[in-house]
């Protein structure tokens, strides 16, 4: 059995092996908050039996996920779409599958301006039933739309209000049930998630060895621009790192700049691709240490980032 069997556990996880198995299922299913996920990941790392169970579950999940899905044929789609149309204004063409892909969408655009405006005209509702593509295209549109506003850089006090926005986002994350949208200590999970959502992802090194464990990532919306944010844990403090893709006219800040906003300490710096804002309620030395280690890790592995 596990070598930890007789030691009192302080991570709040169940003692019972069956319940612990359920926790691993919940981890694989993304049902745990960041703190619980971290605790379970630690248990898995320390216990080969749990690690084997975890590996089996991941393999099974992938095997089931890769099963072929039933296809929605054009004829079937037309049949279903006709359910709504027959009782509607009686616009013809409902039996023509080709027409179905365009017409209902246009009428719905007129009806629901606000919602539809977020969506590019050409989104292929009917052929793509993968919500991830939908989410990505919505987010991408938001990025494109915000290109005109240049919220970040217009005013002299841009940096200051940006810092306040970062602080507000960090404060909200501390109040929320979980500070991250995607829980993982694995950058191979966090980066694709961010890429899929907003098309941008910074390097996301896990620095658990240095005392800064990567908890996951989330999307921050600052001004009207979605931006990737990474969340690290240092002892009982959380550090949010917002990585704003750099625009040409953003002032270069090669040397980390110490700021504060909203009662939190911030460090701001830039590299070639991103403008970084690290914020935490940790002490200044800890935050500075985090920034130094993060920058070193990024320089050591520069290929890991992908500015949009």
């Amino acid at each position: 059995m596990s070598p930890h069997e007789n030691r009192p556990r302080e991570d709040g996880l169940p003692q019972d092996p069956q319940d612990m198995t359920l926790m691993i299922h919940a981890l694989v299913d993304g049902e745990l908050d960041a703190a619980a996920a971290l605790a379970v990941e630690r248990r898995i790392a320390a216990d080969p039996e749990l690690a084997a169970e975890h590996a089996r579950l991941v393999a099974l999940r992938d095997a089931v996920a890769s099963l072929p899905r039933p296809t929605v044929s054009d004829a079937f789609l037309a049949r279903i779409a006709a359910i709504a149309e027959v009782k509607g204004a009686g616009e013809g063409d409902v039996t023509q599958p080709a027409a179905m892909t365009a017409e209902p969408q246009q009428s719905s655009q007129q009806q629901q301006g606000n919602v539809i405006a977020m969506r590019p005209r050409g989104v292929r509702w009917f052929n793509s039933f993968d919500w991830r593509q939908m989410a990505a295209s919505i987010a991408l549109t938001a990025v494109l739309a915000s290109g005109a506003t240049q919220w970040l850089t217009t005013a002299d006090n841009g940096a200051e209000s940006f810092a306040v926005a970062v602080a507000n986002g960090h404060r909200r994350s501390l109040l929320a049930a979980t500070p991250v949208d995607i829980v993982s200590s694995d950058r191979h999970t966090v980066k694709p998630w961010l890429d899929g959502r907003i098309g941008v992802s910074p390097a996301a090194p896990d620095m658990a060895k240095d005392g800064y464990a990567l908890l996951g990532g989330r999307v921050e919306v600052i001004g009207d621009r979605p931006m990737p944010a990474l969340v690290y844990r240092h002892h009982e403090h959380l550090i949010t790192l917002v990585a704003a893709p750099r625009q040409n006219d953003v002032k270069s800040v090669p040397v980390a700049d110490d700021l504060s906003a909203g009662g939190f300490l911030l460090v701001h710096w830039t590299d070639d691709a991103f403008s970084y804002w690290a914020i935490s309620d940790a002490e200044r030395p800890a935050l500075d240490d985090f920034v130094a280690r993060f920058r070193a890790a990024v320089i050591a592995n520069p290929a890991a980032g992908s500015p949009g």
Partner: protein
């Protein structure tokens, strides 16, 4: 779900049609998947989903936000069981006292790292599908809702009318059975 008549006076028909296109049509693939796993074949699944979509259209005004996929799948699930009861009454599994089924399978006493994981990963689609098809109905349903339809524990619990803990244990049990079958664990000495 069936509260259309009053709501329909508020939303005119065109708006309902637009809402139907937004709420129902994007999730037809998921609806077909669920119906297929519950009824056992693809052709029946289309009939069931069409029936469910008629109900969904009638009740679209009552859709109160939330996850549209979970909403549609709840209707599809009900339609599936109605269809099964009508067309194949003998195959309906009595979902009575599942207490004995809800025990979690004991963790395997494997002392090796991950040969089973490798075996599972290599299993071909036909083997995986056959193994899912052989699961007892409550387990199969829970597994499909989670791993194929991608619903959360909370959404599944609400749909099935059971506590989340029951969802978790059924899921663990379903996966345990699949792993046993696909991972070749039954060849190992106990």
């Amino acid at each position: 779900m069936a509260g259309a008549p009053q709501g329909a006076t508020v939303l005119n028909e065109k708006m309902l049609a637009a809402r139907f296109a937004e709420v129902v049509l994007p999730h037809l693939g998921d609806a077909l998947s669920l119906a297929r796993w519950l009824t056992g074949n693809t052709a029946d699944a289309e009939d069931v989903v069409q029936e469910a979509c008629l109900k969904a259209h009638a009740g679209i005004a009552g859709f109160a936000g939330g996850n549209p996929r979970a909403w549609l799948l709840t209707i599809v699930r009900n339609a599936s069981y109605t269809w099964i009861a009508k067309n194949r009454p003998r195959s309906v599994v009595a979902v009575g006292d599942l207490a004995d089924l809800d025990d979690v399978a004991p963790p395997p006493d494997s002392d090796t790292d991950s040969p089973e994981a490798a075996l599972i990963a290599k299993a071909n689609s036909a083997a995986v599908e056959a193994a899912i098809a052989r699961l007892p109905q409550p387990f199969r349903e829970t597994l499909v809702l989670r791993d194929i339809n991608g619903l959360s524990y909370r959404e599944i619990a609400a749909m099935l009318g059971v506590p989340q803990g029951t969802v978790m244990s059924r899921l663990a049990r379903a996966r345990g059975l699949l792993m046993t079958e696909l991972g070749g664990r039954h060849h190992e000495p106990a």
